[in-house]
């Protein structure tokens, strides 16, 4: 069984993640997932490639904290968070979140909370390659 929180180069399988999630409990009634994908278009520019860079040790620690907090906060039965750190093209998978609960409301609330928090708290940066060159996606402080 793979670890429920991972940073990896390679792609992942929803079927494998869901199977691992379900193996934890027979009480699961609803699983909400979020799959973030690379788009070919961002803020008016064509994007041919997106590269990711992470502060690996801190990112993994923050993702593990996020999973534990989500499980406690939403009474989840299980949750998984996988983020790829590599170069991706349009349509490729970037991030996968899955939240399993007895009932669907908690699963949806938790899944949305995890991806919102991940974007705020996990040290990963994205660089887009466009016809105008490469640029880091970052706002000024």
């Amino acid at each position: 069984m793979t670890n429920p929180v991972r940073i990896q180069q390679e792609d992942f399988s929803q079927d494998a993640e869901i199977a691992a999630l379900k193996a934890v409990s027979k009480r699961i009634g609803g699983i909400a997932t979020f799959l973030g994908c690379a788009r070919d278009f961002s803020e008016g520019r064509d994007v041919s490639e997106i590269g990711f860079e992470a502060y690996g040790s801190m990112a993994l620690a923050e993702m593990n904290k996020l999973r534990s907090e989500a499980i406690a906060r939403f009474s989840l039965l299980e949750a998984r968070i996988v983020h790829r750190v590599t170069n991706v093209r349009a349509g490729d998978n970037i991030v996968f979140i899955a939240a399993a609960a007895e009932h669907r409301a908690a699963a949806f609330d938790a899944c949305r909370w995890i991806i919102d928090e991940l974007k705020q708290r996990v040290p990963i940066w994205k660089k887009e390659t466009t016809p105008q060159g490469e640029s880091w996606v970052t706002q000024h402080p």
Partner: protein, 79 residues
């Protein structure tokens, strides 16, 4: 020694991913910020988060210890 890490947009502006500075007794986080910030003002313009030993720190008065790992980071854009 204090190990300093840069990532993504900050690394690009500092033009390095890692450096070291000599630890001196009584050193605080603000001493490191002041010293590196003066050398790399453009990079520190976009620093939004600072972590010491993989945990975010907001108090720049934090005393440092020999062997600490400090990261200066731009706003995150993962997910």
């Amino acid at each position: 020694m204090i190990r300093i890490l840069f990532f993504g947009p900050v690394a690009e502006r500092v033009q390095m991913r890692e450096t070291q500075i000599v630890f001196t007794a009584g050193m605080r986080l603000q001493d490191v910020v002041a010293s590196l910030g003066a050398q790399h003002p453009q990079a520190f313009d976009i620093v939004s988060f600072t972590a010491v030993n993989q945990a975010q720190v907001k108090d720049m008065q934090l005393p440092l210890n020999d062997g600490d790992e400090i990261a200066f980071m731009a706003k995150f854009s993962g997910g």
